[in-house]
C-alpha cells in the first residue's frame, strides 16, 4: 500500500520501475498523441505509461498517457509489486474497498494554486487539448475528476461527488459534460435545475492514480470517493477547499472552477466510447469556466479510448468488479470472485459455490439488481468455485462442458441498459442473459458428470521446482 502525493511522484515511480517512456522528439497533437497511445494498447498488457515533452505549437507543454494502462501500472498504482497477478490485485482491491471509510486531511494550500487565471480564460492556451479519434466532435478532456456537491445538502461531505465524466471543450471557457443518468452528478444537477440554479463544479486534472480509479468506481450515493481513496492508499486523503467549498485533491496539476449552466443543453459528441463505438451526438449540459489554477509546468493527463482493450479498460476493471463482488457477497457468502473486466462489465463472470440446484441462476439474477447491473451487466456467466473467473481458458472450459442450453440459459426481456451499449433496442434498453455454467447439483440432476479429472499427486511441488528451473533457463 502506498500514498502517492501526486501524479509526478507516481510518474517517477513508473520510471524507476521501467514503466514510463519519455518521448523528447517533436510530436503533433493530431494524430500523433492518439496514435501513440493506441499503439501502446496494441503492444500487450505490460505497456508502460508515455510522456510527451515537445508538442507542436507549445513552448512548454507536457502530456502523460497510458498512466493506468497495464496490469503492472495498475499494481503499482495500488502500491503492489508490479508483477502481482490479476487475481491478487482483485482480492487486495476488495480487501481495501471493504475498509471504507477512511479520513480526509484538509490543508489550506496546494501546489496547483501557483498560477491563477481568473479572467479571459483560454483553455486552448493553457492545456494541450487534442482530438483522440478521427470521428470525435472536438477536443475532449477525458480523464478529469469532476467534483460537485448537492445544493439541497451542501454541507454533507458524504454526498459530495468525485466522478470521471467526459468533457468536450467547445470554446475558450465553455465545456460540454456527459452526466449519465445512473451517475451521482446527475442527481446534483437535477436538484440544481429543480431549484433553478447553476451547479458549481471543480474539475481536477492530472491526479495521483488512486482518486481517478475511485472516480470510476460505482459507489453508493452517500460514499465519498476521497474517503475510499484514503483506505485504498492506506493514509488520509489530502484535499484543499476551493472558494466555493468544493474539495479538490492537493496534488492536482490543473483545477478548473466553473458552473454547470442551469437548464441548458447543447450539441455534444460524438466521442469514441468504451464499448468500442462512437457515442453519437446528444444535447448535453454545459459548463462555463470562471477560473483556472495550475502548477508551474503542468502535466496534462489523458486516457486513450478505443476498441477494447485500452487504458480505459484497466481504469474500469477492478473498480467495476469489486463493488459487484461486495454487494453479492452480502447476500451470498458462497461467492468466490467476480470478473467484470470486459467492456465496463457488460459481461460479468461470477465464481460461486452452489448450495442446491438452481442456486447459480439466482446469483445471476442478483447481479442484475446490483447498482452496476442496472445499467451495464448484460451477459452474466456463473461458474463453479473451482473455476478462476479471471482465467478465460477455465471459463471457456466451463461453458464448453457445464452448459446445456436447454436448461442453463435464461433471457430476460427489456431491462435497463447503458445508453452507450450499441446493441440496445431502443437505446437504453436490452434483453439480458444469464448462463449457468456450474455443475448441476441436487435436486437439479441434469447431465451425467461422474468423476471430474484431478491433478496427479505431487504436481504442486513439481510446479515450484520446474518454475524455478524455467526461470534460470530463460535468463
Amino acid at each position: 500500500m502506498r500514498a502517492y502525493k501526486d501524479l509526478r511522484e507516481f510518474l517517477s515511480v513508473l520510471e524507476q520501475e521501467r514503466q514510463l517512456l519519455r518521448i523528447a522528439e517533436p510530436v503533433r497533437l493530431e494524430p500523433d498523441l492518439g496514435a501513440a497511445a493506441c499503439a501502446l494498447a496494441h503492444l500487450g498488457e505490460s505497456s508502460p505509461a508515455i510522456r510527451f515533452d515537445n508538442i507542436a505549437g507549445y513552448t512548454n507543454a507536457h502530456v502523460a498517457m497510458n498512466v493506468h494502462g497495464s496490469w503492472p501500472n495498475h499494481a503499482l498504482a495500488l502500491g503492489m509489486d508490479k508483477e502481482a497477478p490479476l487475481r491478487d490485485q482483485f482480492f487486495e482491491f476488495v480487501r481495501r474497498f471493504q475498509q471504507y471509510p477512511g479520513e480526509l486531511e484538509r490543508v489550506a494550500s496546494a501546489p496547483w494554486q501557483e498560477v491563477v487565471i481568473d479572467k479571459d480564460v483560454n483553455l486552448y492556451d493553457l492545456m494541450p487539448l487534442f482530438r483522440l479519434n478521427r470521428g470525435d466532435g472536438g477536443y475532449f478532456i477525458d480523464k478529469p475528476c469532476v467534483v460537485s456537491r448537492d445544493l439541497d445538502d451542501w454541507n454533507n461531505d458524504d454526498v459530495e461527488n468525485v466522478g470521471v465524466y467526459r468533457l468536450q471543450v467547445k470554446g475558450r471557457n465553455r465545456i460540454g459534460i456527459q452526466t449519465v443518468p445512473q451517475h451521482d452528478i446527475a442527481i446534483h444537477l437535477a436538484h440544481a435545475e429543480e431549484r433553478g440554479e447553476d451547479l458549481p463544479v471543480a474539475i481536477a486534472l492530472g491526479n495521483e492514480p488512486i482518486i481517478t480509479l475511485m472516480g470510476a468506481t460505482p459507489m453508493r450515493y452517500d460514499q465519498l470517493e476521497y474517503k475510499m481513496a484514503a483506505v485504498m492508499q492506506g493514509a488520509p486523503y489530502r484535499v484543499v477547499k476551493t472558494a466555493k467549498g468544493l474539495d479538490v485533491p492537493w496534488g492536482s496539476e490543473y483545477v478548473l472552477e466553473g458552473r454547470v449552466l442551469n437548464r441548458q443543453r447543447e450539441a455534444e459528441g460524438p466521442f469514441g466510447e468504451f464499448p468500442g463505438y462512437y457515442s453519437g451526438c446528444h444535447q448535453y449540459p454545459v459548463i462555463e469556466i470562471d477560473r483556472v489554477s495550475h502548477r508551474k509546468d503542468p502535466i496534462y493527463d489523458a486516457v486513450y479510448v478505443g476498441r477494447p482493450w485500452t487504458e480505459l479498460d484497466f481504469l474500469q476493471a477492478m473498480t467495476t468488479s469489486a463493488p459487484i463482488f461486495v454487494q453479492l457477497k452480502a447476500s451470498f457468502p458462497e461467492i468466490v470472485a467476480v470478473n467484470a473486466l470486459y467492456t465496463h462489465g457488460l459481461v460479468v463472470i461470477v465464481s460461486t459455490k452452489t448450495r442446491y440446484g438452481g442456486f447459480a441462476k439466482s446469483v445471476g439474477l442478483s447481479v442484475l439488481s446490483t447498482p452496476h447491473g442496472l445499467g451495464y451487466a448484460k451477459i452474466i456467466i456463473v461458474v463453479d468455485a473451482d473455476v478462476d473467473p479471471f482465467d478465460l481458458k477455465q471459463v471457456m472450459w466451463a461453458l464448453s462442458v457445464k452448459v446445456n442450453p436447454a436448461g442453463d440459459v435464461i433471457i430476460l426481456p427489456n431491462l435497463p441498459e447503458n445508453l452507450l451499449d450499441p446493441a440496445g433496442q431502443p437505446g437504453g434498453m436490452s434483453h439480458k442473459m444469464i448462463i449457468d455454467a456450474t455443475t448441476p447439483v441436487a435436486p437439479d440432476i441434469r447431465g451425467h458428470y461422474g468423476e471430474e479429472l484431478d491433478i496427479p499427486q505431487g504436481m504442486d511441488a513439481w510446479r515450484l521446482k520446474l518454475g524455478a528451473l524455467i526461470k534460470d533457463l530463460q535468463k
Binding site: E30, A56, T59, G171, T179, L189, E194, G196
Partner: protein, 88 residues
C-alpha cells in the same frame, strides 16, 4: 500562412457545412496552428489536422450533421420541472 489565408480555407464547417466558423484560438508559438469552431454544430478542428477533419469535402459522411437535425438530438439528462418557490 497568415491567419486571413487560414480562415479563408476554413470558411465552412467540415461537419455541418455552415458558414458560422470562428477562430477559437491560435497556437501559443505563433503560426503553428489555429483552432476553428463552428458556432452552429460546435464541431472544432485544428488547421494542422488530416484533411478528413478539416475539409468539408473529405469529412467522412458517417459523421456529418445537418443543422436542421440539431434540435432533434436526444436530450440527456432531461431537464426536470422547476420546484414551486418555498418547496425546498
Amino acid at each position: 500562412m497568415s491567419q486571413t489565408e487560414q480562415a479563408g480555407q476554413h470558411r465552412f464547417c467540415p461537419r455541418c457545412r455552415s458558414a458560422t466558423v470562428k477562430v477559437l484560438s491560435t497556437s501559443p508559438v505563433a503560426g503553428v496552428w489555429s483552432v476553428f469552431g463552428c458556432a452552429t454544430c460546435l464541431y472544432a478542428w485544428r488547421s494542422t489536422e488530416p484533411d478528413e477533419n478539416t475539409d468539408p469535402d473529405k469529412y467522412p459522411a458517417v459523421f456529418r450533421l445537418k443543422p436542421e437535425d440539431l434540435p432533434n438530438l436526444p436530450v440527456a439528462p432531461s431537464i426536470p420541472a422547476r420546484r414551486r418557490s418555498g418547496a425546498g
